[in-house]
């Protein structure tokens, strides 16, 4: 355990200065956001839907001041508290969405890559179709339908976002499974009579799983943007349920037309900083965890079609959307 930790540290140290600093800065920022999200009830001066205290209503669109450092909204809500509670919502939704899509995507990818045949072909076609679909529209339609079916909320929104990211894990995992399947150690396992289940779980999963943290981190950043986009269009978390940055920005559109900046600036900055942090953390992780990938990344050649299935998916998943 200790040796392993030391080895990881050694890899961190041996990577270039730039990726290392990316890793540190990104990681620290994400950590700060997570702590803020967890400690929201302690840090936030007010509740996310609180518009008065001690019997007096907060000012409407009040300038940033001592009581409200980030100002107040048109509904007299405290912007600072909304931003802090928004971090909590973002964390909840994104963790759920990433975990859901990871489980589904990795499982489907392993099965598809290992079993092959018509099952593989059907799954690939389905996933390609999902991937080709304008992702925001997919999430909108899903949360539109899901909120009709099971009501809106954190889980509904997370589910809508999940579907968007399943194909990415699927592609990455299927690609590595297919190349790993033919490797001598898997063949050896098969020869000594290992069951398919054992091969998948013990040999393939362990080999494939290393590319997941990078994709998961980058997807988390992307998922924050999708969540905010949904909120901005009115299809995310409803305002009575929790504070959500995208919804706040939607409300800020009319404020911006009146020249009021604080209702837009702070939630927008929160999204931007968090997504930048997650992106550079993902890029840093990419270089540290996967030195082979780093070399290949510089030389990966993207050709259209399904031929580029082994390394390209990692690249494809890395592209910001």
């Amino acid at each position: 355990m200790a040796g392993r930790f030391r080895r990881t540290l050694a890899t961190v140290r041996s990577t270039g200065a730039v990726p290392r600093w990316l890793l540190y800065i990104g990681g620290a920022t994400v950590l700060v956001f997570t702590l803020v999200a967890l400690a929201a009830p302690l840090i936030a001066p007010y509740d996310f839907d609180q518009y008065r205290s001690d019997g007096t209503r907060f000012p409407k669109l009040g300038h940033p001041s001592g009581d409200h450092p980030f100002g107040t909204t048109v509904q007299s809500l405290d912007v600072l508290s909304r931003v802090i509670w928004g971090a909590r919502t973002a964390l909840e939704v994104v963790v759920l969405a990433v975990v859901f899509s990871l489980i589904i995507g990795v499982a489907l990818g392993l099965i598809s890559g290992f079993v092959g045949g018509w099952l593989d072909r059907v799954l690939v076609l389905l996933m390609d179709a999902l991937f080709a679909f304008p992702y925001l529209l997919l999430a909108i339609v899903l949360s539109f339908l899901l909120s009709d079916a099971i009501g809106s909320g954190v889980v509904t929104t997370a589910l809508a976002i999940t579907v968007v990211y399943v194909p990415q894990y699927f592609r990455v995992v299927r690609g590595s499974t297919m190349s790993a399947r033919e490797l001598p150690y898997v063949e050896a396992a098969r020869v000594i009579g290992a069951k398919p289940r054992t091969i998948i779980v013990r040999y393939l999963l362990a080999n494939v799983v290393q590319s997941v943290p990078v994709v998961a981190t980058l997807n988390a950043g992307d998922a924050i943007l999708t969540l905010a986009g949904l909120g901005f269009l009115g299809y995310g978390i409803q305002p009575t349920e929790a504070a959500e940055w995208g919804y706040d920005l939607q409300r800020a559109v009319s404020d911006a037309n009146a020249g009021i900046w604080w209702t837009a600036l702070y939630p927008g900055l929160a999204i931007t900083v968090l997504v930048v942090a997650l992106t550079i953390l993902g890029e840093g992780l990419n270089e540290v965890l996967n030195p082979t990938l780093r070399r290949r990344r510089a030389f990966a050649f993207l050709l259209p079609g399904r031929s580029a299935s082994t390394q390209a998916p990692v690249l494809a998943a890395k592209e910001p959307r």
Partner: protein, 343 residues
């Protein structure tokens, strides 16, 4: 030689077209299933509050919702093949009308955004790739990350606040001033073209002014991706043997970079930009909403808010087809440019 080449190209395009058909079919089926698995009845969801039970039943029959599900599915596919995207439930308007009337605005916005992104993104990516890990490379990369990380609507709001309100330089809402909108005769449904056809320079200027902020906002979204892709591929081609041998033969650096490296770096870049079509359409919906831009995305959001299932189904289907079509075109362009793809 020529015959062989064009033969393999034709074969490639043919195969590619054939491959697109199952894709389209799956997309259509997905849209259909998605819109039907929702519980309850779309007609009452959209109009329940406004009509009586008899009227609702009549509307349901008119929209074909009383037919067996397979019949509905078959009708849906048959209509799409004839480019009929159905009628809206709430105002009984053909979806094709929405596409024609509002498509011009969306097309203007997305094209302007792509042009801006290519105009600035390619040189930036090329420069960053040539000066790998130098300070300017790092700055450009950070800029690329930033343009991707900042939500389009946030960037749009900042632009509105700064260029629209604080400086008062540019309009922040709509596609043109109300006067222009009212006076210019509609011919192409593309307002910019209409003002040019009308020969009204002032109106053209007005439309262009309205276009600047939304186009830059949406353009920035694509710019980041383009910069990153160009950079990675330029680095890769600059490290390849043929670039080295070109350098060894004493070919000037400029020529090597532009003729040898950039050209070859562009194929994957074009491919990725094709994949970005989905991103661009999603971004367009958000940008249109931010700037009150009268495009298809704006209509989609309106119909979503009115819970108009058939309108949403029609517009989504159209968007999905556009994405498939763009990726098809991109692949064909790539095959024309790069003989390796068509074998």
């Amino acid at each position: 030689m020529g015959a062989v080449r064009s033969g393999s190209l034709a074969r490639y395009i043919g195969t590619r077209l054939l491959l697109a058909i199952p894709m389209v079919w799956i997309l259509l089926t997905m849209v259909f299933v998605l819109m039907r698995v929702a519980p309850g009845d779309p007609v009452s969801a959209a109009l329940g509050a406004r009509l009586s039970a008899d009227q609702l039943a009549e509307r349901r029959a008119a929209a074909g919702f009383d037919a067996p599900i397979l019949q509905q599915y078959w009708d849906f596919l048959g209509h799409i093949v004839r480019l009929d995207f159905g009628r809206t439930l709430t105002d009984n308007r053909p979806v094709t009308d929405i596409i024609v009337e509002n498509g011009g605005a969306t097309l203007t916005l997305t094209l302007a955004a792509v042009i801006l992104a290519v105009l600035f993104g390619l040189p930036m990516g090329l420069h960053a790739g040539r000066r790998r890990d130098k300070p300017d490379d790092i700055v450009i990369r950070l800029f690329g990350i930033l343009t991707f990380a900042a939500p389009v609507f946030f960037v749009g709001l900042l632009f509105q606040l700064f260029f629209g309100k604080a400086l008062g330089w540019l309009p922040t809402s709509g596609q043109a001033s109300p006067v222009v909108q009212a006076t210019v005769e509609t011919k192409t449904h593309i307002l910019l073209l209409d003002t040019i056809i009308a020969g009204d320079g002032e109106a053209t200027g007005d439309v262009l002014k309205h276009l600047v902020l939304p186009a830059v906002t949406l353009g920035l979204l694509t710019l980041g991706v383009l910069v990153r892709m160009t950079r990675v591929n330029v680095i890769q081609t600059l490290g390849s043997d043929y670039v080295e041998s070109a350098r060894a033969r004493g070919i000037p650096d400029r020529t090597v970079v532009v003729r040898h490296a950039l050209r070859n770096a562009l194929v994957p870049v074009i491919t990725v930009m094709g994949l970005q079509a989905a991103l661009l359409l999603g971004g367009a919906v958000l940008t249109e909403q931010t700037f009150n831009w009268p495009g298809i995305g704006n209509q989609l959001v309106d119909y979503l808010n009115n819970r108009d299932y058939t309108a949403v189904q029609g517009i989504i289907t159209f968007f999905a087809l556009v994405v498939v079509l763009i990726s098809l075109l991109i692949d064909i362009i790539n095959a024309l440019v790069d003989p390796r793809i068509r074998y």
